[in-house]
Amino acid sequence: MSRWQRLSLWLRWGLRDARRRWLQVLSIALLLGLGVGMYSAMSSMGSWRTASADASFAALQMHDLRLSLTPGSFVAQGKLSRALAVIADHRLVTAAEERLVIPTQIDASGGRRSIIVPGRIVGADVQPTVDRLATVRGRPLRTADNGLPVVQLERNFAKHYGLAGAGTLRLGGGRQVRYIGQALAPEYFIVTAPGADFGAEASFAVLFGSLPTAQRLSGQRGRVNELVLRVKPDRGALAAVQSELGRGLRVALPGIGFTFTRGSQEAARRLIYEDAQGDQQMMDIFAALLLGAAAFAAFNLVSRTIEAQRREIGIGMALGVRRRVLARRPLLLGGQVAVLGIALGIPAGFAANAWLRSVMQSFVPLPVLRTPMQVGVFAEGAALGLVVSMLATAIPLRRALAVTPDEAISVGARAAKSSGLVWMTRGLRLPGGSLSNMPLRNVLRAPRRTLMTVLGIGAVVAITLALAGVIDSFNTTLDASRAEALAGSGQRLTVDLATPQPRDSAPLRGMIASPVIGAVQPSLRLPVTLSAGGRQLGAFLEVVAIHGRLWHPTLRVGTLPAARPGLVIAERAAQDLHVRIGDLLEVRYPAPTPARRGYQLASATLPITGIHANPMRFLAYTNQSAAIRMQLGGLVDRLSVTPTSGRTADDVRRALLAVPAVTAVQGAAAMTDAFRQTMSQFTDVLVVTVAIAMIMALLIAYNSAAINAEERTREHATMFAYGISPGRVIGGNVVEALLTGTLATVVGVAVGYGILRWVVDVSMRETLPDLGFLISISTGTLALAALAGILGVTLAPLLTLGRLRRIDVPSALRVVE
């Protein structure tokens, strides 16, 4: 026999082995294919997002450095650009643009729908060299638009509300603008707003116009408040530019505060990359679990196949065939499962790629997408699939080849196998007859297979629980935040002013006197930096009355005294700053300059006196005593209001839209509601992932049930011979599967909870540091996990009913295995 003929013989033999169990082989291959496909797609997400983000930021020439004057400060156009002259090496700055960024309210209502949100106007050159716009719908801005009430609308906001490509908007103060297109801007690839680090597109709108347009709309003619720069990518160039420019500005703009923000630290940019990294870690875990689930199932199938070949292997040994040769058939089967799995993994990978690509597009719609099929990653997944299959073959094969020919060939009583862990139940008798005791015994009888099934199903349950648990935790956290924001009044709205005003100022008096406004409670809310021991974080510090009738923060611990300065922070803030009640925090805040021409940064040290109940890290509260110490006494830039009886929140929004000093009117829980809306998109991801997980669970369970049915053919035939009906036999198998499924669910829930904790405590903490997540698993999630782990597994034996009915009882009873 030639080498080729020999090879051909082995291949044919292997194919026959596979064909005998074609349905199981196919189900394992499908499982492996899903594992490999999902692995390659999930593992590609991170690099897609990074590559797409790199390309998008580069295409739109995102700034490397942003200089912002403290809120409320403006300088004459050209002054910030001229300050660049102080930089010794002019070549370090490759492009610079002055901008005017103005907060405003935007009314995009149409038909019966009311959309009034806070936002901002960004005025810049219509053909900027820094921070270009990518027009998605409508037309871009042109030079002819300079000074006209014509703008582009930020795409994420427009998409969220399904707005037309062009239309009309009303702005705070009653002004009207025409938007002629929708655009993506690098700073808003992920829309963030003051106090909402993620998913603010529902509650924050950005308008892009020419600089003269922004100046005209805001009444700041000939003035700017921002400078954005692109800097040479040389080592140290950015630091040098920041340092020299800062020095020059302190001389050129005495008494005006300013801050620098590096491009890499812009919320959108930072979040995109951090989110990509954090999500990738999570995806890697899920991908590994999926592949692991496939491995456990493959192990079961190949083990059973080798077990069925035990006598043939023994005969081969007795005939002097070398073990290496005897190993060929099982190895060929493992190889076939692997090859088929990898082949099925290609379409599965493409499908998963397409799905995850659309998820990515919907979550972070970037102007440039780089989502190629990652051949290297797929090859890695395929190699892992192959290794997994071959390992799943090698381990049971090794055991099968370790016995003597005599042991392998022996039949009847001499071949009686040990019954695994059944001995543990020797003294245990469950209610009911002998049949009632069988399911538990059978679970213990093949502990390795049970373990592999439990691990495979458990992996699927873990994925389901962890994913759904993330959403539950989000919801619980947002619920807690919402409940806190609306404590005292579900109708409370917050009204933000462009700049702090004295309590008795005319605009304030006018608003308070508005017939649509009922109760009013003034406060002052400032963007601040809290620091202690070298650690710092950004926050909004609100000066509130702790016994305010309309609203006041709920304190979990401590107090906010009236008579002396005090500071109340979030628990997460205390954890991150490593401080506790009684410690001192340095607060850097914008304070009005003595001449009230603008704002400069000032600092004060305040003692922490309490921890509030809101899980949002960036919320901090202080009292009037502290405000006086900070030279902010009597100033107001926020009102908590409720509509008068018979009026709605929309009535208040419309009434205050006409007031120029007002930049935002929104429900007190608007921020959490916006978060929630964004999270609802995640539900789609959950549904698909859970559907895939369910399919995998069913495949694993079916495979296990089919193996059990095959292995116990003789027992089933004996039962039939004694008059037990197939329905009753299946009933016992269903109970057995229920036990296995329950065990798998318990394991999966435990592992899933561990993953959830990691996601929340480590991954999310880095991606969304401002949310003090409350870990939670809802009843619905537990039900979903049970559905994946118990229901699918329990029903799997039903799929073997046909096989049971087809058993040739007389032949099976005489089988000598």
Partner: protein, 236 residues
């Protein structure tokens, strides 16, 4: 009274496109308290005969009445019920349930037949086959002879009037085979009909009647040649 009555029973199979006649026009009667041995070489149809009597197989033609019930054209459901209450099996390869102890395996026989106090009855049956002290052992902890005795105890626990044994000593050594044969033989004296299929002619010497099949035809139905002997006289 005849517990088993076959009239003109024929069983045909189609194997690989061609028809095989496993039994051809077989008629016979077996009464209570009879110990009948069915002899014949491989492929003679003896196991088919046993399967038809045990309602594991149905005849292509002819009539089968067992324990007063015509099972030749009974429904699937009726056949399952018949097996629970009409016949019990003892198999060559014992076919015990590995996950159940010896006692529980015997209890299974009583359970499926719906007998009261199954546990107690199972204990008694195990005692009767001499394994009273091995009830807590799992099949893999028992010898071949012990497993077959458990298998017989399981069949007896059902209380069914007909005991069908297919090569019950085929897996056992001589000494153990004799013990098993004694046990089966004893059952014929408790009102049961016992049919034992074997190719071992020596066993036929202890039968009340010997039925011999050849190529599906009944070629002999009479007491053993040379008269019935005691089990202790057997040698193989």
């Amino acid at each position: 009274m005849a517990l088993v009555e076959l009239s003109g029973v024929t069983r045909r199979y189609t194997v690989g496109g061609s028809e095989v006649v496993a039994l051809s026009d077989v008629s016979l009667r077996v009464r209570a308290e009879e110990f009948v041995v069915v002899l014949g070489p491989s492929g003679s149809g003896k196991t088919t005969l046993l399967n038809i009597i045990g309602a594991l197989d149905s005849p292509s033609a002819g009539r089968v009445i067992v324990a007063g019930q015509d099972i030749s054209r009974a429904s699937r459901r009726a056949l399952f019920a018949f097996r629970r209450h009409g016949v019990s099996f003892v198999f060559q390869t014992f076919n015990l349930f590995p996950a159940l102890t010896a006692l529980e395996n015997v209890e299974f026989g009583a359970d499926v037949a719906g007998r009261a106090n199954a546990r107690l009855l199972a204990g008694e049956m195990l005692e009767r086959v001499g394994l009273g002290r091995r009830g807590a052992h799992f099949p893999h902890e028992l010898s071949g002879g012990e497993q077959q005795r458990v298998s017989i105890a399981r069949a007896l626990a059902s209380g069914n009037p007909i005991l069908l044994a297919d090569e019950p000593t085929g897996e056992l050594d001589f000494q153990t085979g004799i013990q098993i044969l004694e046990l089966l033989h004893a059952q014929a004296h408790t009102g049961r009909a016992v049919l034992v299929v074997t190719h071992n002619r020596e066993i036929a010497r202890v039968a009340d009647r010997v039925i011999e099949l050849s190529s599906g035809h009944l070629v002999r139905d009479e007491p053993p040649e040379g008269g019935q002997v005691e089990i202790t006289d057997l040698r193989w």
